[in-house]
């Protein structure tokens, strides 16, 4: 006969208001096998937990049922209390009478009856609970960072400085990301490159960081603590070991009119190129799509002028396998392209659809304002190089507009638009800066003050309203909009227009997430494990998130998240072995017919093939086997198995049927 204790929590008034907790406790006390039943105002509090512990100790309980909130909230609390008295924690179960009862019902009588039923079911289940023990998994103390922007750099440096070897993968020829393109950063106006490039160098020189640039994650196998990552090192066409980074090749390359990605298309680069002077590594790469040699077989000037003979036209993509125990995804963002939208977005044909040269986006303005940019930091418009006397800034282009497919706020545009207006006024004193906005969202330290500074000191004209159309007329851009506060239509003739286009997840973000088993939303931003309490972990064990790949954020937030992700990896690596919940599927190999339907349905790739051999080593048959280190206990395989050879620890058929049986009068 079981000795079960039932503990009914009022959760203040959360449960007690709708459920008669004393009545539930009393009814539970009459159930066979229940030797103790009480109700209490706050069961999760210290005195509440002590009631549970005292009962286990004094009454020699062999099962504990806590009727309270969701197990997602306090199951660990009560299981810890249970274990504290030497009872296996998996003999403690929670009944959710808050989210699944009191919060969703109004009728006190019916809610009380339902809570009583739920408790009775759990009592029957607990009678069949068995001792379960955490699974021990070995781990590789080495971390992968995907993305070499500021978030990836921060995470890599934090981990490496904590003694964790790091492998960084960056798809571009240089690390640095978007931050390397920025002019000055809000709200302090420090020079972006001045604060970033030392960190880039630190990454390159850190003895514990292995850097793979111009590389992408090809394949991910394994599980938390034991990932095996295949990295494609794209052919650079330059032997990194021989190249000295002298730069003669890019000077002599006859192809010089290729729009530079680093200058957001406003400047040019050669076909063999170092993306920008401070690039890390400071070694070139050949753009094979545009290189004359790769297109026609001729030219080859770079190879001829290269002293060390580093140019290698024959180079092939290389594959490197790295074993790591955890990963930090920091893949960043791209901007909404108004002329070439993808993913079913419609773009902004009414703004010229990217065809008006002097309608630029925020990153292009950054390049114009940057000392390292194509104009040397002078604000000159792309079409004719003239200094614009009127610049109109439009916020929320693509963002916050469900009709256009993006309902979220891109978060950083209010701040960078204020910065752009301010930088423009600092450089063109007599110029006029006009900002069309929906709301100004500047909640950050010193942020609102910064926006006020742009308005009050630098006299940026802020107009609340949207712009319906932009068109060219006599070398200017006509901006037709509305000032909704004054209630009048506005028409402004501008020399240049800057669009604060929406922040979008980086190309390929969804594909990478699938490789790691990380969830993502409808916009391919990665999903955190819990929006409040686990904001830097993904739901995939051992995979952390940092920076804009998880959602729009500014530099300090991206850096903070990256440091937090690094700390999470450090916590993970602080243990000898990894412990995982033993709620995993197991195969009865004596009845398994080896159909591997379970392998087909397993979302985690946890089902392996087990070969049953006789003493002579002859293969008798193949059966499925669940790798407990990979299994997440979802139970899909259990439901699929035609021969019922699978069961989920903690949720066996016996336990489920006992629960159902308790419900049938």
């Amino acid at each position: 006969m079981s000795r079960i204790g039932v503990f009914v929590c009022h959760c203040g008034e959360n449960i007690g208001r709708t459920v008669d907790c004393a009545a539930v406790s009393e009814a539970a006390g009459r159930l066979p096998g229940v030797v103790h039943s009480v109700d209490y105002k706050y069961m999760c509090s210290d005195p509440g937990q002590n009631m549970v512990r005292a009962a286990i100790r004094d009454l020699k309980l062999d099962g504990v049922v806590v009727a309270a909130c969701s197990p997602a909230m306090h199951e660990p609390t009560f299981r810890r209390a249970t274990a504290g008295e030497g009872l296996n924690p998996f003999r403690c179960e929670m009944v959710n009478v808050r989210e699944q009862c009191s919060w969703v019902h109004e009728d006190r009588e019916a809610a009380t009856a339902k809570a009583t039923d739920l408790v009775r079911m759990m009592v029957e289940k607990v009678k069949h609970n068995e001792d379960l023990f955490p699974i021990q998994v070995p781990l590789t103390r080495r971390a992968l960072v995907v993305g070499g922007g500021i978030a990836g750099i921060q995470a890599a440096l934090d981990m490496a400085n904590a003694g964790i070897p790091v492998v960084m993968v960056e798809k571009e020829p240089s690390i640095g990301g978007h931050m390397s393109q920025l002019s000055e950063t809000f709200p302090t106006l420090d020079c972006s490159q001045c604060i970033l490039t030392p960190r880039m160098v630190e990454v390159a020189q850190h003895p514990l960081i292995t850097l793979h640039t111009f590389s992408e994650v090809e394949k991910v196998e394994g599980y938390i603590g034991n990932f095996r990552v295949t990295i494609r090192k794209k052919a650079r066409s330059v032997d990194m070991a021989k190249c000295t980074g002298c730069g003669v090749c890019q000077q002599k390359c006859p192809q010089k009119k290729i729009p530079s990605e680093f200058d957001a298309g406003l400047g040019n680069r050669s076909a063999i190129y170092i993306p920008f002077p401070q690039a890390v590594p400071n070694k070139p790469v050949i753009d094979r799509e545009r290189c004359t040699h790769f297109k026609t077989g001729k030219c080859g000037v770079c190879a001829k002028v290269c002293g060390p003979g580093a140019v290698d036209f024959e180079q092939q993509d290389e594959f490197v396998v790295e074993n790591v125990g955890a990963a930090v995804l920091a893949t960043g963002y791209k901007l909404y392209d108004i002329g070439n939208p993808d993913a079913g977005l419609r773009g902004y044909p009414e703004y010229g659809g990217g065809q008006i040269k002097d309608v630029i986006d925020g990153l292009q303005f950054e390049r114009l304002a940057s000392a390292s940019g194509p104009t040397g930091g002078e604000i000159r418009r792309p079409s004719d190089g003239k200094i614009p006397q009127t610049v109109v800034f439009l916020q929320c282009i693509g963002s916050r507009d469900p009709a256009r497919g993006i309902s979220y706020c891109s978060k950083i545009c209010c701040m960078y638009t204020a910065k752009h207006a301010l930088l423009y006024k600092h450089k063109v004193h007599e110029g006029k800066a006009v900002v069309f906005y929906m709301d100004v969202r500047a909640p950050g330290k010193g942020y609102d003050e910064f926006v006020r500074r742009a308005v009050e000191e630098d006299e940026a004209l802020y107009l609340r309203g949207k712009v319906s159309r932009l068109y060219e007329d006599n070398g200017q851009i006509v901006v037709s909009g509305v000032d909704t506060l004054a209630g009048i239509p506005m028409e402004i003739r501008a020399d240049m227009v800057v669009l604060a286009t929406a922040i979008r997840a980086q190309d390929g973000a969804a594909r990478l997430a699938q490789k790691f088993g990380v969830g993502y939303d409808g916009h391919a931003f990665y999903s955190e494990a819990h929006p409040k309490l686990r904001p830097v972990e993904s739901a995939a064990a051992g995979v952390m998130l940092a920076g804009v790949c998880q959602g729009p954020k500014d530099i300090p937030e991206a850096v903070a998240q990256a440091s937090a992700a690094a700390a999470k990896v450090a916590v993970l690596f602080s243990r000898e072995m990894l412990e995982r919940e033993p709620v995993v599927a197991r195969v009865d190999e004596t009845t398994c017919a080896g159909c591997f339907a379970c392998q087909q349905v397993c979302p985690y790739g946890a089902v392996e093939v087990n070969e049953v051999r006789d003493r002579q080593g002859r293969l008798l048959r193949r059966t499925a086997r669940v790798n407990a280190g990979v299994c997440n206990g979802c139970g899909t395989c259990v439901a699929t198995c035609p021969s019922k050879s699978l069961e989920l620890a903690g949720y066996t058929d016996e336990q489920i049927f006992a629960q159902i049986g308790a419900l049938i009068p």
């Binding site: 419609r346 044909p349 009414e350 319906s468 159309r469 060219e472 007329d473 006509v478 037709s480």
Partner: protein, 295 residues
């Protein structure tokens, strides 16, 4: 599906007679049968819903009920305002199905809530009709540069069954190409012409429509194409006054969409009512004869 319940609306029986004539002529040439609905009334246009939403619904419902009774098929109209109001009435009925019986009682007849409301231009752009037009083009417009003008109401209401994208419609341009013309890229396609302010505040119309005419001309248009009788009135009928006031050195013929298509189909300009315009439409000058010979 070649039969349509036809709602001309007030203008097409009066100042925009030539629009009605050209719609009927083009429909005839394409084998589309129009059945004018009995006892139709004013759609309410802008004044009704601006003053009293209830009255606007009743007017819309009345005409939808008459169209339902007509039973020929989708309800076809040429006026942008009628189109917009009739669709708004239908949207309202579908949004509030519970109010439908009362609405039907009020207008004395059943209303088919799913009755499709079509603008003539929309009908011409339908794949089957398009193909019929393409097959029957006998006098392509020889690259005539036409500025398509949508105005405010044609692309509204948005949403389900919308005329086209409200911010960047391309339907009229496609029809111009179909007729062998060349649509002009110009930015004011969706601006307001001044609408009914022509009577109470003519100066506003002179400014707004004047801006449209000047811009279309500046971007190389030889003619404008409209799909709304009121836009036409402002741009064509008022044009001499605007031209005097703004000192224009040009005159821009303003054609209805069905007149443009009708010309391409080789229909006689008089049948299309082109002689009724205030700004003369010199067809032979606009469409070079040598182009016609190629056919």
């Amino acid at each position: 599906m070649n039969r349509f319940a036809y709602y001309p609306g007030c203008s097409l029986h009066a100042t925009a007679r030539e629009y009605d004539e050209s719609i009927r002529a083009v429909a005839g040439a394409l084998g589309l049968e129009l059945s004018e609905i009995d006892d139709w009334c004013c759609c309410g246009a802008t004044p009704a819903h601006a003053i009293d939403a209830e009255s606007a619904h009743v007017l819309g419902d009345w005409n939808l009920a008459r169209a339902t009774a007509n039973g020929a098929g989708p309800l076809l109209t040429g006026c942008a305002s009628c189109y917009s109001r009739l669709r708004a009435a239908g949207d309202e009925l579908r949004a509030h199905p519970a109010a439908a019986p009362a609405a039907a009682q009020r207008v004395g007849g059943r209303i088919d809530p799913d009755l499709e409301v079509l603008h003539v231009a929309q009908l011409l752009a339908r794949p089957a009709v398009r193909e019929a037009v393409a097959a029957k083009v006998t006098r392509p417009l020889g690259g005539l540069k036409i500025a398509c003008y949508y105005g405010c109401l044609l692309t509204r209401p948005r949403g389900e069954h919308a005329f086209d994208d409200a911010e960047n419609p391309t339907l009229l341009e496609d029809l111009v190409r179909l007729a062998g013309g060349e649509p002009v890229a110009w930015p004011l396609r969706l601006d307001c012409c001044g609408a009914s302010l022509a009577l109470p505040e003519p100066a506003i119309v002179h400014d707004l429509s004047g801006k449209l005419l000047a811009m279309a001309h500046a971007r190389g248009a030889q003619a404008m194409m409209v799909a709304c009788p009121l836009c036409h009135a402002n741009l064509d009928m008022t044009q001499p006054a605007i031209a005097r006031e703004k000192k224009f050195d040009f005159a821009l013929p303003v054609l209805y969409v069905t007149q443009v298509i009708g010309l391409a189909l080789g229909i006689d300009p008089r049948t299309l009512g082109l002689h009724r315009h205030i700004v003369p439409v010199k067809v032979d000058a606009l469409i070079p004869a040598r182009e016609a010979k190629h056919v």
